[in-house]
Symmetry: C2
Subunit: 199 residues, 2 copies
């Protein structure tokens, strides 16, 4: 039996990452061995720098290299509107579209009881505090348009029911540019539910 403790250890550590099983981890470890020391150093340094310099904004939970992100600090943004997303990466995508001028709130996931993710593990309470403190007038729920995302949106809508604010949901249905032929049942259901008058 070949026992190469340092090889097995690295495979084990890599296989703890999401979406990486033992087979992929072995492939990655062999690839690391074949890479030049310099290239592996670059990778390791970039991970170390990520952990040292990038944080989650203490206000909204999005990525930042300061304590508070530049969106939360920017007095020019519409501070009465909060767009609620599941993950910090969603903020990057919406922000880079350049269309949205309000604030964000990152839940840190979505309610998924089957995966053991319950509401208390997400930052709902912090959101309610921010809605109160900032005098928010509209919460745009931008969780993903799939089953868990819809569940999370519905839960949040109920949480916010007592606040006298506008609660909206991003439009979803068929993806713009796609064909009915290639859409699944859930997309078609939402497309029918959310149909609008032709103007």
């Amino acid at each position: 039996m070949i026992k190469l403790a340092d090889f097995e250890r690295c495979v084990f550590e890599l296989s703890k990452l999401p979406g990486i099983g033992k087979k992929t981890a072995t492939r990655l470890a062999l690839h690391l061995l074949k890479m030049t020391n310099k290239d592996v150093e670059s990778l390791v340094n970039s991970i170390n720098k990520l952990k040292t310099n990038i944080k989650f904004c203490k206000e909204c939970g999005s990525l930042t290299d300061k304590d508070i992100c530049y969106v939360c600090l920017d007095e020019g943004r519409d501070r009465k509107t909060i767009c609620v997303v599941e993950e910090a990466k969603d903020v990057i995508i919406i922000e880079n579209s350049g269309i949205y001028k309000g604030l964000y709130h990152v839940l840190g996931g979505r309610i998924a009881p089957l995966d053991g993710i319950t509401p208390d593990m997400l930052s709902f309470e912090k959101l309610l505090n921010r809605v109160g403190d900032l005098g928010v007038t509209e919460v745009i729920i931008a969780t993903n348009p799939d089953v868990d995302g819809e569940t999370t949106a519905y839960y949040l809508k109920k949480l916010l029911a007592d606040y006298d604010i506008r609660i909206t949901r991003i439009a979803s249905g068929l993806a713009v540019g796609t064909h009915i032929e290639y859409s699944d049942e859930f997309a078609i259901l939402k497309a029918l539910e959310n149909r609008v008058e032709l103007k």
Copy 2:
């Protein structure tokens, strides 16, 4: 436009790994951010130790924590038989089966012109030297039973044609335990080609 240089850098470095695109790299980087510092340190340490302590054997190319692997050093092994594999991980799998008692030779890949991998990039020359030096009497070609693996096996057979040795190929066909219904054409082709007399 959100620019978080250290985040983008880490995503870029991760996306250089095989089978990891930009989307997966972003997911991994976010996961690294959510991990405890201790867990990330374990991962980084394991990569550093892998690079420091694990090498490819100077004789056969398999993984080792010395210059020469324990198989090559073991005088009790059958040194007249070499099993040729594509990758170092194949050695681990065959070795852990406990069935094989000869030596190994790792080619470092397989001939795949479409992927730009030509014979001169693999360790054929070293193999020929070893066959001569050791007075090998049998080379077992254990490249994978797919198109590129068969091409590589055929190429190697021609290379060894002038040597007065036995050249064998591992048996392939339908995977043991599988059904014809679930096998692809290539498996069925090989199963018919390699058919044996019922004893």
